[in-house]
C-alpha cells in the first residue's frame, strides 16, 4: 500500500508547486499587464489615432482635397510602382536564394546566408548612399550613365533599386528556416515518381511553403511602401516626380501643410493596419498547418 501512495502524493505535490512557480502574485501580474498595455497605447495606438485625427482635423473635405492633390496622387502612383516592381523581384529572389541555400552544397554558402542579412544590419541611409556612390553624377558609373543620358539617381529607377536592396531579405528570411526544417525528402519522392523539377517545386514545395511565402511577401510589401531612409537619399525630393508617400509626408509637413502630411500618413497607417491584420491571419494559418 505504502509504496503505492507515496509516489502518488509526491507527483501531485510537484504539479501544485509548478503552478505556483508559474503564477506570480496578483499585483505583479496586473502591473505587468498594465505596463504592457500602457506602452502599446502610448507608442502605437495613440500615434495611429493622432494621425487620423490630424488628417481629419479640418474636416473630411479638406482631407479629400489633400489626398487628391496632384503631388499626393503622384506620390501614391510612385509608391505603387515601386512596390509592383520590387515585391515580385524580391519574391523571386527570396525563393531562389532559399532554394540554393537549403538544397545545394556549395562553397561560400554561409557567406551568402550572411550576405542576405546585410540590408537588415546596415542603416537604410547608408544603403541609399551606396547607390549614390555608384550611380550619382560623381559616382563610379556616373559619367557612363550621363553619356547615354540615363538617370538613376533622383529618379524612379534609383528609388526602385534602393527599395530592392532594403527589402530583399524579407522573403528569403521567412523561407530558409522553414525549408531547412522540411528537408527535401518529399521533393526527392516527387522526382523519383517522375515529376520534373518545376512540377516538383510547383506541386510539392510550394504548397508546403505558401503561408510563409505570403508572410514574407506581405512584410516585403509593407517595407517597400513605407521605406524612408534609403529612398530619401536617392530621391532628391522632386515634387510630383520622385516623392513616394513617406517622402510626401515629410515634404508636406515641412511646408506646414498639416492636413496634407497627415492625409498621406493616414494611407500608410491604413496600410500598416491591413498588413497587421493579414499578418495575424497568416500566422494563424501557419500555426494551424
Amino acid at each position: 500500500m505504502n509504496t503505492h501512495t507515496i509516489p502518488h502524493t509526491s507527483a501531485k505535490d510537484t504539479v501544485v508547486r509548478q503552478q505556483h512557480a508559474l503564477q506570480d502574485p496578483k499585483w505583479v501580474r496586473w502591473s505587468l499587464i498594465a505596463i504592457a498595455l500602457g506602452f502599446i497605447t502610448l507608442f502605437i495606438c495613440l500615434p495611429l489615432g493622432l494621425v487620423i485625427y490630424q488628417a481629419l482635423s479640418k474636416g473630411i473635405e479638406a482631407y479629400w482635397t489633400a489626398l487628391t492633390q496632384a503631388d499626393t496622387l503622384a506620390a501614391i502612383r510612385l509608391t505603387l510602382l515601386v512596390a509592383i516592381v520590387t515585391v515580385p523581384l524580391n519574391t523571386l529572389f527570396g525563393i531562389t536564394a532559399a532554394w540554393a541555400i537549403t538544397r545545394f552544397e556549395f562553397k561560400g554558402k554561409s557567406f551568402l546566408t550572411t550576405l542576405i542579412d546585410l540590408p537588415f544590419s546596415v542603416s537604410p541611409v547608408i544603403s541609399g548612399f551606396i547607390f549614390v556612390l555608384l550611380f550619382g553624377a560623381e559616382g563610379w558609373f556616373g559619367k557612363l550613365l550621363a553619356t547615354y543620358d540615363i538617370k538613376i539617381i533622383f529618379s524612379a529607377p534609383g528609388i526602385i533599386l534602393a527599395t530592392l536592396f532594403v527589402t530583399f531579405p524579407f522573403v528569403a528570411r521567412q523561407l530558409i528556416p522553414l525549408m531547412q526544417e522540411m528537408g527535401h525528402q518529399e521533393e526527392e519522392a516527387a522526382l523519383s515518381l517522375g515529376a520534373s523539377g518545376w512540377k516538383t517545386f510547383y506541386s510539392v514545395t510550394l504548397p508546403n511553403i505558401k503561408w510563409a511565402l505570403l508572410y514574407g511577401v506581405l512584410l516585403c510589401n509593407a517595407r517597400a511602401m513605407g521605406e524612408f531612409g534609403a529612398v530619401s537619399v536617392v530621391s532628391g525630393h522632386i515634387r510630383g516626380l520622385t516623392n513616394t508617400l513617406p517622402l510626401n509626408v515629410e515634404v508636406n509637413y515641412n511646408d506646414y501643410d498639416v492636413v496634407g502630411a497627415f492625409a498621406s500618413a493616414s494611407i500608410l497607417a491604413g496600410l500598416a493596419i491591413v498588413t497587421l491584420v493579414l499578418k495575424t491571419l497568416l500566422e494563424w494559418k501557419q500555426a494551424s498547418r
Binding site: 522526382l191 523519383s192 508546403n208
Partner: protein
C-alpha cells in the same frame, strides 16, 4: 528487371562511403542490403535510384546503362525510410501523384487514374483511408501508402530504405510477411535496406552484407548463415561464440571438440545451437558451469562459464525447451560440453 552495379565508389569529401561495389541482382529477386549503421546502405540505394551521383562505376538496369540518367527518368520506385508522403495531399492524391505528373501523351485519363489508385489502395488494404491526410495515419499505414505510391508508376525496380525501421516489433513482423507475399505476387525486382539480420533472413531471397562501404558477402540466407566467409559476417548474422586460440586454454578447446582434425585458422566461431550439453557425472570431466538461463520462446538460452584456468566471458548455448526440462539443470550445476561445429577464421 535485373540490376547490375559495377565498380561503384562514392566519397563524401575525404570520407569513402562506398568503394568498388560489384553487385548483380537477377530479375524478380527480393534482395536485402544488410549492414551496421553508417556502412553505406542508404547511399548505395540512393545511387541506384539516381538520387546521388557516383564518383566511379556504373548502374545498369535491364541492360541499360543508367549511370548518368536523371532520377525522374529512371522509372524506379523508392520508398523512403521516413515515408516522405506529401503532407498536403490526401492518401488518394499521394498515390495518384506519379500518374498525374506523367507527360501529357502518356498520362492516363482521370477515370483510369481513379481506378488504378483504388486498386493499389486495395492491394495495400487501405482503400478505406483514401481521403485522409498522412498525419492522420499510423506509421504502418503510412508505410503501406508510401509503397502504394511507389508502385503506382509501375517501376521496373523497387527500392525500400528500412521499410519497417520506424515501426514497433509486432507491426514489423506482420509487414515483413506481407511484403514477402506482395513481392511474390508482383514479382518486381526489389532491394530493401535493413540493419536487422532477422528481418533480412526472413524476407529476402538474397542477402548482401555490407560493411564500411564494401560488400562482405552475398548469398541466400542459409548460405550466409551456414557458410559465413569471414568473421564479420559470422558475427553479424545471428549469435556466435568467439574463441581466439591465443586467449584460450587449448586443452579445454580440445576437450570440448572445437579443435579437431579439420581445424584451420586461429579464431573459431561457434553458433549457440552447435553446443551440445550433457549433465556431468563428476567434476573431473565437467567443462562448464551453468550461470544463468533465459526463455527465448521455444528455445532456452544457457549462459555458461568455462571451467578452466582462463577466467573469461560467458558462452551462450541454445536448446529446445523440452530438452532443457529433461536435463533438469539448475543454476550452478556443472555440465559437459560437446561442440559439433565451428567456423574457422584467420
Amino acid at each position: 528487371m535485373s540490376i547490375i552495379l559495377s565498380d561503384i565508389s562514392k566519397n563524401f569529401g575525404s570520407f569513402a562511403a562506398l568503394h568498388n561495389i560489384n553487385l548483380e541482382v537477377p530479375e524478380g529477386e527480393l534482395v536485402a542490403l544488410l549492414g551496421p549503421s553508417g556502412c553505406g546502405k542508404t547511399t548505395l540505394l540512393r545511387i541506384i535510384a539516381g538520387l546521388e551521383h557516383t564518383d566511379q562505376g556504373s548502374v545498369i538496369i535491364n541492360g541499360e546503362n543508367k549511370t548518368s540518367q536523371n532520377v525522374s527518368q529512371r522509372g524506379i520506385g523508392f520508398v523512403f525510410q521516413h515515408y516522405a508522403l506529401f503532407r498536403h495531399m490526401t492518401v488518394f492524391e499521394n498515390v495518384a501523384f506519379g500518374l498525374r505528373v506523367k507527360p501529357r501523351h502518356t498520362r492516363p485519363s482521370n477515370e483510369i487514374i481513379k481506378k488504378k489508385v483504388h486498386a493499389l489502395l486495395d492491394l495495400v488494404q487501405l482503400d478505406w483511408l483514401h481521403d485522409r491526410y498522412p498525419d492522420q495515419l499510423s506509421g504502418g499505414q503510412r508505410q503501406r501508402i508510401a509503397l502504394a505510391r511507389a508502385l503506382a508508376v509501375e517501376p521496373s525496380v523497387l527500392l525500400l530504405d528500412e521499410p519497417f525501421g520506424a515501426l514497433d516489433a509486432s507491426v514489423r513482423k506482420d509487414l515483413r510477411l506481407w511484403l514477402r507475399n506482395l513481392h511474390h505476387d508482383l514479382n518486381v525486382t526489389s532491394i530493401f535496406v535493413t540493419h536487422d539480420q532477422e528481418e533480412a533472413m526472413e524476407v529476402a531471397s538474397q542477402v548482401v552484407v555490407l560493411n564500411h562501404g564494401h560488400i562482405e558477402q552475398q548469398g541466400s540466407p542459409s548460405e550466409i548463415y551456414d557458410n559465413p566467409t569471414n568473421a564479420f559476417v559470422s558475427r553479424f548474422i545471428g549469435q556466435t561464440n568467439v574463441f581466439d586460440l591465443d586467449e584460450h586454454d587449448n586443452e579445454w578447446l580440445r576437450n570440448v571438440g572445437i579443435i579437431n582434425a579439420n581445424s584451420t585458422g586461429r579464431i573459431a566461431h561457434v553458433r549457440p545451437h552447435d553446443i551440445l550439453i550433457e549433465k556431468s557425472e563428476s567434476h573431473q570431466d565437467a567443462t562448464a558451469t551453468l550461470k544463468d538461463w533465459q526463455h527465448l520462446g521455444a528455445l532456452i538460452r544457457l549462459e555458461l562459464v568455462k571451467n578452466d584456468h582462463h577466467a573469461s566471458k560467458s558462452l551462450f548455448a541454445e536448446m529446445p525447451k523440452e530438452q532443457f526440462k529433461a536435463l533438469a539443470l539448475k543454476i550452478g550445476d556443472v555440465v559437459k560440453l560437446k561442440i559439433r561445429h565451428a567456423h574457422w577464421f584467420h
